[in-house]
């Protein structure tokens, strides 16, 4: 009788089942989108392509970058989406928008603005935080000095206290 290996690799059976679940949710959303929005849904799909790319390349757990890009990308797409929808969600309406360069500029430009925000916000935050940190360090160093004066150099963990 063949023995089992001492430690067999553990396979997380949750991962494929989750992906499958997500896949079927997407399929349902797509069917619902097509039923409700008709051809507007195709426009939404094309317009939100930068957001989808951003989602795929964003490995962050909280998906900050992709959600920022997606939010601005959607803001760029939404007004055209409403126009198409109000025109009955026909293929003609979609085609008309897709042949308009301004539409592309607005939709993808909005996504690009999202990317800019993702890049620029930490720089602004860094400048602001640097100022805050400097203040905090100054305060802590003052406290350290006071402690040394009160308890002597020994409080630093080395040396003898002096008057």
């Amino acid at each position: 009788m063949e023995e089992k290996p001492a430690s067999a690799p553990v396979v997380n059976s949750d991962i494929p089942s989750k992906s499958k679940k997500r896949f079927w949710i997407l399929v349902v959303i797509c069917i619902l989108g097509l039923v409700l929005l008709k051809m507007s849904f195709v426009f939404l799909f094309i317009g939100m392509m930068p957001a989808m790319v951003a989602y795929l390349i964003d490995h962050d757990k909280n998906k900050y970058s992709s959600s920022t890009v997606a939010a601005l990308n959607f803001a760029g797409v939404f007004s055209y989406l409403m126009e198409i929808y109000m025109q009955g969600g026909t293929f003609e309406a979609v085609k008309e928008r897709l042949f308009d360069a301004n539409v592309w500029l607005v939709m993808y430009g909005a996504a690009a603005a999202g990317w800019f925000l993702v890049w620029f916000s930490p720089i602004v935050a860094s400048v602001a935080l640097d100022g805050i940190y400097r203040g905090r360090i100054l305060h802590l160093e003052t406290m350290q000095k006071k402690a040394e004066e009160e308890w002597g150099k020994q409080v630093t963990g080395h040396g003898h206290h002096e008057e």
Binding site: A71, A75, G114, L117, P122, A125, W151, V155, G157, H161
Partner: protein, 691 residues
């Protein structure tokens, strides 16, 4: 000015304050004067009346300058014959020099205080000088009536007073106007410089400083030897060495060695037979001599020869016919003596030849414990040899290595050895105490004086002598054993301080000179104070038990001793000592980390030091809450400091800034994007649905 802003006092400030201090009590003794009557003429030394422990000087009695007096100025490191001094102050006999006064005086040429005794200068010539001049025999009648009679009267009185002389010899007896004058007996410990010829064998073989203080029986022996010399008119044993004398007495007996060979009257031989007897119990006492003088006839036989057996015991190739001579030979050949214990020969000899089965049993038991590995078991074997010697000669002294001591005399030897830094002897005495040889010696005594009070004292010493704690050890023991001994600390020795209050005053006086380099309590001061306060348990600062290294700090224990001493003596104004304590304990406050606390303590310390109350100083140091609060506060401060330090390092590192900026930036971007998205959706929907 608030406490925090006062300048912090430094150790140098305390030193400067102490330098300005002048003690009110100078502990000054009269200079070269005793009792404001006797002036010690230190420019007129009398070396012929010196002893090893006291220097003699001429004295002028301011009230009666015609008197011929002299003073004995004692060294401070030797216990005095206190009982003799006390008794002789009131003792007067025309045939003995009178002790007129005693006291402590500052001796100018020595620049220190010393104990001084004023004595009458003995009139006449030393017998030793007279007898050296040729044959001058004294007739029996003069000898008995004008020489022996007064000496016996003195001895009878001594017996009544409970003292003995132990310095009756040719150099200390003077001949004047057809009678003898007996010299003093208080210038040295009992029998220290006594001529071996004038002592019975048990005292001859004892170390000079370790002889029993009271031995009237040996005075009787000495009187006999003195009479023998006077009746012969010369010094027949002048050339005999001490070893030869001991050998002869041990093998032939005292009477046979000294008196038997002389052609004297039967009556005189009776006297010598009665007195020159090694057996203390058989020797005549002063009353018996008095009876003999009165004409009572004694039918005395010659004292028995010391030879106990016909079959000898061989030791180092020599035959020994008595236990006492064998014991002495073993003592003199200590290294070789262990060989005697290697087999059962000695036990069998005592049983079969000496016919002492009980002693034989003890010796056999000791031999059974003997270990042939003399290097590893040297100490245990030394103990066995000492015990064997005691069993062989129970009437003799306790002999251990190079020392032979009596239980009455061991205390003097301990004190002198310790004070003259003879460490080997001190160690030997400690071993004697540790081995409990004193109790063993006592067990072997069939009869004799009641030693229970002395043994109780010595057993207490036994427990103290090995203790290393301040207030114990040999230093403590010598003050317990000699309550009159002044404190031997080099700080106060020159003041001859033999009371607690004097020691405190002396410390107060020397504080300005000593505070820089010395601690305020050394082992002698501690031992002296502990003895006077009868402290029986090792001192510990229980108040500071929570801080172990302070609870056993010797300086704090010294402080506690001084606190108790001041309480006991109810003294104040010890400002000098207070500053000394403050200076020497100043460093202890280094353990207090909090600067503001230290500042406050230093200021308080100065105030209490100025007050001169040691108890107040003690309260400052022995406050556990101060140390504990500081200790716990400091630990928290260290932890907080460490935490803040880590925090600063974290804030200073770019990684943290980058990480935090990225996190914050993303959050901002997301919020902004969501807001724009929502606004777009809202306004688009509004434009279509006009809400």
């Amino acid at each position: 000015m608030s406490e925090d802003h006062k300048p912090t006092l430094k150790q140098e400030d305390f030193v400067a304050l102490l330098r300005q201090y002048t003690p009110s009590e100078r502990l000054e003794r009269p200079r070269d004067m005793v009792r404001e009557q006797y002036r010690i003429l230190t420019n007129q030394p009398l070396p012929e009346l010196n002893s090893k422990f006291a220097r003699a000087y001429a004295v002028r009695d301011e009230q009666a300058p015609e008197l011929s007096l002299y003073a004995l100025v004692f060294d401070s490191n030797i216990p005095l014959r206190q009982k003799n001094i006390a008794a002789l102050k009131d003792f007067r006999h025309p045939n003995m020099v009178a002790l007129l006064a005693d006291g402590i005086a500052e001796i100018g040429i020595l620049s220190e205080s010393r104990y001084v005794i004023i004595l009458e200068k003995p009139a006449g010539q030393q017998l030793s000088v007279l007898l050296s001049q040729g044959r001058n025999p004294v007739s029996e009648n003069i000898l008995v009536n004008f020489m022996l009679r007064p000496l016996v009267e003195i001895l009878i009185e001594f017996g009544r007073l409970g003292i003995s002389h132990n310095r009756i010899n040719l150099s200390n007896v003077y001949l004047g106007k057809n009678t003898v004058i007996l010299g003093e007996c208080i210038s040295e410990p009992s029998g220290y410089s006594q001529d071996p010829l004038f002592e019975p064998i048990d005292r001859v073989i004892t170390s000079p400083l370790a002889k029993a203080d009271f031995s009237l029986a040996s005075d009787c022996y000495a009187v006999a030897v003195l009479m023998l010399h006077l009746i012969l008119g010369f010094k027949p044993f002048d050339k005999i060495s001490k070893d030869a004398l001991v050998e002869s007495v041990l093998t032939k007996g005292s009477y046979q060695t000294l008196a038997m060979q002389w052609d004297l009257s039967d009556s005189m031989h009776d006297l010598f037979r009665g007195l020159l007897n090694e057996m203390r119990r058989e020797r005549w006492d002063p009353e018996s001599i008095s009876s003999w003088i009165s004409g009572r006839l004694f039918n005395l036989i010659t004292p028995s020869s010391p030879v106990e057996v016909s079959r000898s015991f061989e030791f180092m190739g020599q035959p020994y016919y008595s236990r006492r001579s064998l014991a002495h030979a073993m003592f003199k050949n200590w290294q070789e003596a262990s060989a005697v214990l290697a087999d059962t020969k000695l036990g069998r000899w005592i049983e079969t030849s000496v016919h002492k089965p009980e002693a034989a049993e003890v010796v056999l038991r000791l031999a059974a414990s003997y270990n042939p590995d003399t290097v590893r078991f040297e100490r245990a074997n030394n103990d066995l040899i000492a015990r064997t010697i005691i069993v062989l000669d129970p009437g003799g002294p306790i002999r251990f290595k190079n020392l032979a001591v009596t239980i009455e005399g061991i205390s003097v030897l301990l004190a002198y050895s310790l004070l003259t830094h003879q460490q080997d002897d001190v160690q030997t005495i400690i071993q004697i105490f540790e081995s409990d040889l004193l109790a063993f010696w006592l067990e072997q005594q069939k009869s004799g004086p009641d030693y229970s009070a002395l043994m109780w004292k010595l057993q207490k010493i036994r427990s103290y002598i090995k203790m290393n704690a301040l207030g114990f050890g040999p230093e403590r023991c010598i003050y317990d054993l000699h309550p009159g001994l002044p404190c031997q600390s080099p700080f106060v020795k020159r003041y001859y301080a033999n009371h607690l209050s004097e020691v405190l005053y002396a410390l107060n006086i020397v504080a300005p000179q000593r505070s820089a380099n010395d601690d305020f309590v050394d082992r002698h001061t501690a031992g002296f104070i502990a003895s006077k306060l009868d402290i029986g348990k090792e001192l510990r600062i229980h108040e500071l038990d929570v801080i172990p290294n302070l609870a056993t700090n010797p300086k704090l224990i010294g402080l506690k001793l001084l606190m108790r001493a001041q309480t006991k003596t109810d003294m104040d104004d010890l400002t000098g000592l207070g500053f000394w304590i403050a200076i020497r304990l100043f460093s202890l406050f280094d353990t207090i980390h909090r600067a503001s606390q230290r500042r406050q303590i230093y200021n308080n310390l100065r105030d209490v030091a100025v007050s001169g109350t040691i108890n107040d100083i003690g309260e400052l140091f022995l406050k556990p809450e101060v140390f504990v609060a500081d200790y716990t506060g400091f630990n928290s401060a260290v932890a907080e400091y460490k935490m803040r330090k880590a925090h600063i390092a974290d804030l200073k590192s770019n990684n943290s800034l980058i990480r935090q900026s990225r996190m914050a930036g993303r959050g901002i971007a997301q919020t902004l994007a969501y807001s724009l998205c929502l606004a777009t959706v809202y306004f688009t929907l509004k434009s279509y649905f006009h809400f």
